[in-house]
Amino acid sequence: MSFVSLLFLVVFLPLSVLLARLIPERFRNLFLLLVSLLFYAWSAGRNLPVLLGEMVFTYFAARELKRRRDQGDTGTASFCLLLDTVLLIAVLAVFKYSGLALPAGISFFTFSALSCLFDVGRGEADAEKNPVSLWLYLAFFPKVLMGPIVQYREMQPQMASHPAGAASLEHGTFRFLRGLFKKVLLADAFGAAFQQIHALPQMASMTAILGTVFYGLQLYFDFSGYSDMAIGAASLFGFRLPENFDHPYTAVSASDFWRRWHITLGAWFRDYVYIPLGGSRAGKTRLVLNLAIVWLLTGIWHGNTVNFVLWGLWWGIIVILEKLVLGRFLEKLPRALRCALVNLAAFSGWIFFFSPAPGDCLHWWGQIFGAAGSGFWDSQTTWYFTGNLLLLAVGILACGPLLSKLLSRVLHRGERTGTWILAGLTAFLLLLSVARILSSTYQTFLYAAF
């Protein structure tokens, strides 16, 4: 099951929200934990033991770390932390590289487990005796499959009390719907358009460029839509999850892009890898090394092929160049041009993402530079361009802050008519989303595979 399954939307989510409100507060976390395990078993079937194993392991490891810290035994505490980290990473690596079916969400819940151990090990959060809240942190169903990777010290304080008042419910519903529309009406449509182009043996330059743009937009709406749904669903139970996206395609530098794309993963690497390594405060050589390590790890985290490593290095080189050499020069350029350059870097990077191997990347680049001999634009390009023109226009608009600004402008003006028109539009989009989910044969989210 994913968030776009009708059984989830019509039965599972509404019923769990309703029951969570009826259950006495002291049993609420236990109820949510059981619901989350049901959700995970539903989507990942036989991989439930992997999640359960990591849950039990993390609980005892965290308790042990806390005990040693409390005893003032920081030396062995650090050694234990190292051992725990190696173990968790080893489990992740075994699944990623052995060719076994990857348990859904393992990259996400393993990083959550590591966050918990690091925070407890550094004394920034408490390892509670009651395992329910730690386990709920790891397995909470809105985020277990695809994040946001909320850090333990951010979520732990919410465990004691997370009242879901009317505002929280209404905000959560709207946020969830926004994500649903992004995923179902935009991401899946871009995905279908991309698949058609990707399947062509030969194409004109502009067709290949169009295909790359479709993929980049699919990835953004897919993942940011999912994040919206996760944040919205969590809000229905009174939890506040951190933001994961902030209009990344409007960024004006590579570093800016990564402060706006998959924010929680960037924050994780910043807090648990980059800063402990010394960050930018230990000289230029060390800075380059630290950045290279972080970007290599980011690449590896995303997938198990050479292409993901290359993609990580691609961004690593761009960020290092920007920080050390080009930054000052680029800052003088007009905003629009800087934004265009970042998008050029980002969309070029996605070619590593959708090509299975480096050879396929080269082939795609060949198509962009006219290797097919079909010129810059042919009738096929016209077909894919005109057939997706409306989608493309809406997609590009939705990448920027314009639509949300327009929405708040109408609402803030205080006209009942405007409000009702928007509500009617929302209802129509909801019906259309249900119709589209029914029409599609179940399509999984791209990020579930990582």
């Binding site: 399954s5 009708l6 019509v10 209404e170 909801l430 249900v434 029914l438």
Partner: protein, 387 residues
């Protein structure tokens, strides 16, 4: 002013929340109260049933439950149609592998020609004809609608014609095998106005991937020499349905057009007996009118596809025909009954018996291969059957 702002945003969120909660409650209750369907006519498949208790213990119970719920979702067919309507309004001219053409035509995406498979098939036909030098061989290949009616495709649709591919395939066969590429005939017929009805002949259904009986008739007229038959007999034409919505309408969830189905009956006294070994029945006609009551009205011809069909006639011409075929032949073969005493139809996709035995036991004098390019380009079973 500021207070009003936040209260307005709140008012909107309040409406959206109530609306969503109501929608969930309505769908939840409606799904609970509506009895499950076992079959979807629109999709032509069995719908998933509620997973049983034992199925709930398997590892993929989640997927089964999801499939059941979406298959049995209330108003499923209407919502799917709403989606396809919305996509067309958004400017899409392709839906689930079907091109939405002009004048109500729906076109299937052509099957890419597999060079390895088609070469093997050509070699098998060649060897089969050389092993049986006393039998007269013919091959008729039919292009798809997108190839013949390219003018009705949506502008710039990435589809190339099949006529050249068919010529290239036929050139692999020896001269002793008579061949016919139906492309030109069909295209000419589609542009020609008929005398009696003063309209252009519709050679393909708008909503189905098959050719119409009129299209098959035009090719039959052109195939006289290929099949070595005398001046065609006179046939009477009957329109037997005007409500046919075929496979392409289902595939694209487009319910806009409807097709007429016609049949032709030779004006002769010759009688016909049709036996269906798989059904163990005999009929006095090549047509099964009861199939017009079903979703797939193209099954009016022989009741659809069978591994083999035996047609006995009282034509008394001393000739017996063996046809290797796909479903396109179903509407073509009825024209042939006045010229052969026996006609055996074999659909190699479902037929696993020895073909040589058929040749001798029925005293076959003629063999015809009648296929659509879309089937033949990916087919392996014909070469297997010819062995």
């Amino acid at each position: 002013m500021r207070r009003k702002k936040s209260s307005e945003g709140r008012y909107f969120r309040h409406i959206v929340f109530c609306m969503t909660a109501l929608a969930c409650a309505v769908f939840f209750t409606a799904n609970l109260l509506t009895p499950d369907r076992s079959f979807s006519a629109a999709e032509n498949r069995s719908l998933s049933a509620r997973p049983s208790l034992s199925e709930c213990l398997t590892s993929d119970w989640g997927q089964k439950a999801d499939r059941w719920y979406s298959d049995q979702f209330v108003l499923r067919d209407s919502l799917v149609k709403l989606n396809s309507l919305a996509r067309r309004c958004a400017g899409e001219r392709e839906s689930n592998g079907v091109y939405i053409g002009k004048d109500g035509y729906l076109f299937e995406e052509p099957t890419p020609k597999d060079p390895v498979k088609t070469e093997r098939t050509a070699k098998a036909i060649t060897a089969f004809s050389q092993d049986n030098p006393d039998i007269s061989f013919s091959v008729i290949l039919v292009p798809d609608a997108a190839s013949v009616l390219a003018r009705d495709l949506p502008a710039n649709a990435p589809v190339s014609g099949q006529s050249e591919e068919i010529d290239a395939f036929l050139s692999l066969l020896p001269d002793s095998v008579r061949t016919l590429n139906a492309s030109e005939t069909l295209e000419a017929a589609s542009r020609q106005k008929t005398e009696d009805r003063n309209e252009e002949t519709q050679v393909f259904y708008r909503t189905d991937h098959h050719w119409t009986t009129d299209g098959a008739y035009a090719v039959f007229q052109a195939a006289k020499e290929t099949l070595n038959i005398p001046e065609p007999a006179v046939y009477s034409r009957f329109v037997v349905s005007d409500s046919f919505q075929g496979t392409l309408a289902s595939q694209s969830a487009d319910g806009a057009s409807k097709d007429a189905v016609t049949i032709y009956i030779p004006d002769s006294d010759a009688r016909t007996t049709v036996s269906y070994p798989d059904l163990q029945t005999r009929r006095a006609s090549v047509y099964m009118p009861e199939k017009l009551e079903q979703k797939d009205q193209y099954q009016v011809f022989f009741g659809g596809n069978h591994p083999s069909v035996e047609i006995e006639t009282t034509a008394d011409t001393g000739r017996s025909l063996l046809v290797f075929k796909d479903s396109f032949a179903n509407s073509f073969v009825p024209f042939l009954t006045p010229y052969y005493d026996t006609i055996i139809l074999i659909d190699p996709r479902y037929y696993y018996e020895n073909v040589d035995a058929v040749l001798s036991s029925y005293g076959i004098t003629d063999v015809m291969f009648l296929y659509s390019a879309d089937t033949l380009w990916a087919d392996t079973q014909l070469a297997d059957a010819l062995g």
